[in-house]
């Protein structure tokens, strides 16, 4: 078993303006909760990770700080989790159920290098 980082990317400019009702928020949460619960039920969830706000800053050499990162890339990181799986293929298979895919986003699957 290896650990894998799943990075959720979506169009950062899309979800900023619409105000959602609590019911809508609830309805949006359920697929995520069910998907993560399903991974945890297979004992393959290493860390539930974090969700990220759209707003952020990018720090560059020579004291250059810009708002971003979505200004430059259309695909901003919206969150991440860490799972364990037997192979990169299995980790990708698990990622197929990620709700971000229904929202026009994608999942980047990366193998985490062990510390030693």
């Amino acid at each position: 078993m290896k650990d894998f980082l799943l990075l959720f990317r979506r169009d950062g400019s899309a979800d900023t303006n619409t105000q959602m009702s609590p019911e809508q928020i609830q309805a949006m949460m359920k697929p995520w909760q069910d998907w993560m619960g399903g991974i945890a039920a297979q004992n393959k969830l290493v860390s539930p990770g974090n969700r990220l706000e759209a707003a952020g800053k990018v720090v560059k050499p020579n004291n250059v700080i810009t708002n971003g990162p979505y200004v430059e890339t259309k695909e901003a990181v919206g969150g991440y989790i860490i799972i364990k799986a037997a192979s990169l293929e299995e980790a990708a298979e698990i990622s197929k159920g990620c709700p971000i895919l229904q929202m026009g986003g994608n999942v980047e699957v990366r193998t985490i290098l062990p510390m030693n």
Partner: protein, 413 residues
């Protein structure tokens, strides 16, 4: 209370109080002496009360006699005198006037401190449960062996080893310092949780004994809840969970100690009183910002106090199981979550998810799949029941599975 029941009852409730006070006074290294004094006291009670009838206040009688026995020992037993009297003298003015403080306050404090000493991380969880039963609940090696489905000899050895370890580690009978209390409480709560489960899910046929185990776990957890220093939300959440589960005690076992499934239980036998207590402690547990697994399990148990199936109920149960699994994986939670998924979403989705669980040698996994296939494909349901029967280990499970197989086969005819 009936006279024959009085001594066993007092043994359950008073044994731990007296022994805690004495061990606190002597130190853990002399725990056997404390055990002898209390055992002698109860022996004398059995003899004297049998001949002369009950004293007016049996509890006070026990306290007086155990105090006198301790003083006698101090006077007459040379070894005890040398070893312990010296230590006690540090804190006591003179040893003729030695104070054996059996006030409510000291009893409560000593019991709490004793819980922490017994649930010390230097001994294994198994030993902690054994010692808790032995010292805090007055269970003998025989009874513990019965509950654990083990033999008296190995339980006795386990208890001896655990006591030796506490002695060599020189564990003090005291509450941990404030900065450590939450950490140590976690171990204590795990032991209380397992102690309760031992009674609730035990394979032992002795129904009374199993109920006693649960009640003792609840009493000890209540002690933690009633003490200011240990009254944290997790404690109340655990107590709430215990109350909800215990509310079904009369409904979940038949005369032979066989399990009656939740679906088949007579709700009229559920204890309203315990359900209300469970709700009370769940409310108390809702302060603070740490959501422990006891909170989640108590909330799941709360939703089960009403049998009526609603969309809301199962959606809540599913999300609670999702959270529980993210917090801590266990095969049972994974299986229960999948059942919740079938109720909240659909059996079809649950079947797909179930097959990913990797629990194909677990009889509960096959029982679950049989349940999920029940209305979709009876042939598959039957297959899974038969596989479940192959993997099941206990008699009560086998009886239950054979009943289910028979039911489906009869329907097919």
């Amino acid at each position: 209370m009936h006279e024959q029941e009085l001594i066993p009852h007092l043994f359950r409730t008073e044994y731990r109080k007296i022994i805690s006070v004495l061990v606190k006074l002597f130190g853990i290294e002399h725990i056997e002496i404390a055990e002898d004094i209390v055992s002698d006291t109860f022996l004398q009670a059995a003899e004297t009360w049998g001949q002369k009838g009950l004293p007016q206040n049996p509890t006070a009688w026990l306290y007086t006699v155990s105090k006198n026995k301790t003083k006698d020992l101090l006077k007459h037993n040379a070894i005890f005198n040398k070893k312990i009297a010296v230590e006690i003298k540090h804190t006591q003015a003179s040893f003729e006037e030695i104070e054996i403080d059996l006030s409510n306050k000291n009893i409560n404090d000593s019991q709490l401190q004793m819980i922490f000493a017994i649930c010390h991380p230097c001994i294994t969880t198994e030993s902690q449960i054994g010692l808790a039963l032995n010292i805090l609940c007055g269970f003998g090696a025989e009874e513990i062996a019965d509950a654990f489905l083990s033999n008296r000899e190995s339980i006795y050895k386990r208890l001896q080893r655990a006591k030796e370890k506490l002695k060599t580690e020189k564990i003090n009978i005291e509450l941990p310092i404030e900065s450590e209390i939450n950490n140590r409480l976690e171990t204590v709560l795990t032991t209380m949780y397992l102690l309760f489960n031992e009674g609730y899910y035990s394979e032992s046929q002795n129904v009374t004994l199993r109920k006693d185990l649960c009640l003792e776990a609840m009493r000890l957890t209540l002690l933690l809840s009633e003490n200011e220093g240990t009254n944290i939300p997790q404690v109340n959440a655990l107590l709430s969970l215990m109350c909800f589960h215990a509310s079904r005690f009369e409904a979940r076992l038949n005369q032979n100690g066989e399990i009656i499934l939740y679906e088949d239980q007579d709700e009229k036998l559920w204890s309203r009183e315990l359900i209300e207590k469970g709700e009370y402690y769940l409310n108390k547990a809702s302060s603070g910002n740490k959501l422990s697994k006891y909170h989640l399990e108590a909330a799941i148990a709360f939703w089960h106090t009403n049998k009526t199936d609603t969309k809301e109920k199962w959606e809540n149960i599913l999300q609670l199981y999702n959270k529980l699994l993210v917090l801590e994986y266990s095969p049972v939670a994974a299986l229960n979550r999948t059942y919740g998924l079938s109720k909240a979403n659909s059996s079809e989705e649950a079947i797909i998810e179930a097959e990913k669980l990797g629990l194909k040698e677990n009889h509960l996994y096959h029982s679950l799949l049989a349940e999920l296939y029940k209305t979709i494909d009876t042939v598959k349901a039957l297959e899974h029941l038969k596989t479940a029967l192959k993997f099941s280990k206990t008699t009560s499970d086998k009886i239950l599975l054979r009943k289910k197989i028979k039911l489906i086969e009869e329907k097919k005819k």
